[in-house]
Symmetry: C2
Subunit: 307 residues, 2 copies
């Protein structure tokens, strides 16, 4: 089967490459620790060649890259597209990088959004996943992670608005560098401690910088075991996130788009919040990259659709 597109999911830590055939079908995938912050001296072309030089030589097909590679610290800056953002507008704003030997790399711009608080918010990479997820107008979608994103979709596949929550990074820095980590013992999952954390985070989301201290005091007082404290804090932070993101209007259902373990945590927490949820197809990233390439005319529209 002929390769039609090399799709790159190029984030802060990792570079994932997928070779896509007709209709966006995934032919082969590869990954390396070649993320934007991991490539020495910003030698991005060398990192790309090392991972997928043979594909580029053999197939001479276009390349599309989404993620932090389009940031100021990346290969070439792709200015943010403002929300509400339609796929067609993003596809018309791809930033071209000519590679040695002929083919062109097309960098997908991220999105910017001014929230109800008047602050800017930004995403890079998640917009492509959102398009790949084929969400209905009016949908709400959460993408758990280091910087979790909540996105609200508008008509015609536009991303209407989104908000970032520092949940994953907060968890990491609090466990590794704050007093909350001191009493913790890492080990097996403690689902009950997680659920206690979620309930507390949901009800006390408006008091976040106080209530996280419960991950110390509950340990001091013996209410949560040292083995339960990591999950208690995880639940607390996810509960705070869900309570905050849905405080003005709780959606009937939230689409969850992320890796298996983290998505399962969010689904448990959403259930405790009385909010429905459904999992988004796991190929949302490559599907989104294919749709961007299609909208930009880099690959033929395919009436049969993907899969």
């Amino acid at each position: 089967m002929n390769a039609r597109l090399i799709a790159l999911d190029w984030g802060t830590s990792n570079l994932r490459a997928s070779l896509l055939g007709e209709g966006g079908r995934v032919l082969e995938t590869r990954a390396a620790a070649g993320g934007v912050m991991a490539v020495p001296e910003q030698r991005f072309e060398a990192a790309l060649s090392a991972l997928a030089g043979d594909w580029i030589q053999a197939h001479r097909c276009p390349l599309v890259a989404s993620g932090m590679i389009g940031s100021r610290q990346g290969w070439r800056e792709a200015p943010y597209v403002e929300c509400p953002a339609a796929l067609a507008r993003v596809a018309a704003s791809l930033v071209r990088v000519e590679l040695a030997g002929g083919p062109t790399l097309h960098i997908v711009p991220g999105l910017a959004c001014i929230g109800p608080d008047g602050q800017d918010d930004v995403m890079r990479g998640e917009e492509t996943q959102l398009w790949g997820a084929a969400l209905a107008p009016g949908s709400c979608c959460v993408l758990p992670g280091t910087h979790a994103k909540w996105a609200w979709m508008g008509e015609g596949g536009t991303v209407r608005a989104f908000q970032t929550f520092m949940t994953g990074e907060l968890y990491a820095v609090l466990v590794q560098h704050s007093i909350l980590g001191r009493l913790m013992q890492q080990g097996h999952a403690r689902p009950q401690a997680f659920e206690q954390g979620v309930e507390l985070g949901l009800s006390e989301h408006a008091n976040a910088t106080h209530v996280i201290f419960a991950a110390r005091t509950a340990g001091l007082m013996g209410r949560i075991t040292p083995e339960g404290l990591p999950d208690f804090l995880s639940g607390l932070l996810i509960g705070i996130e869900i309570g905050s993101a849905t405080r003005h209007a709780a959606p009937a259902s939230v689409a969850v788009l992320g890796d298996e373990a983290l998505s399962a945590r969010y689904e448990t927490a959403l259930s405790l919040a009385g909010i429905g949820h459904r999992r988004v197809r796991s190929d949302a990233t490559t599907r989104g990259q294919w749709l961007v390439a299609q909208a930009a005319g880099l690959v033929d529209a395919d009436a049969r659709g993907a899969t």
Copy 2:
């Protein structure tokens, strides 16, 4: 003038010793990096001797210690006294440690409190400062710091309730270990960026784990300079704290008890929140230690009072 009491403010990082005379007057002070976490192999008696062995020898007066020295990681655990907590009850619960050579060290227990969210909260050392601050019944007092405390006073000098906010530690770990520190440049104070952060934190306190991300995006978008970002984040976190602590009932005025620079920040932020404030006398710690010793009968009641 005769020494009557050796008062130790023995925290996590530092050990501060004050020699007190009649009426609690401060005769001399000393400090060392001999905090609970800084003393090798919990050799607390050696650390005390190194700093104040000559005082102990020369004056043979009682010693009172407040702070983390009474924690499980300290010299001897002094179990928490539950709120509402009166000075007399705490004075009756001092934990005695007999020192080599005769004199006795009396460790002041910390306080515990179950909040409206059903979670335990704890303090060690601040309770002694609160008593030294001579706050009126119904007062609200904030003690800024690594773990900022808000305390509400009841009748007869009791500590009715309190809440911890992880403001100081959050600031430190976010600046040093999170993506928020990446764009920052430390330098001179930027009062305007601080005030912008406070306003945002006050209005968006219920969305804390989202709104702190503004300390990245405001930098990315050039709305706050790299030199302004540290103060912007400081303002954000203090605004979130004040917004959260006063969300159910804003006090007319808050007493501020802490070091000069941090207290000034809180006073600016309280003014922006429309809340009055007054500074607590700077000798609250030694004054509180003296009052505890007096209530425990370790020193004579002094009709003249201290200064």
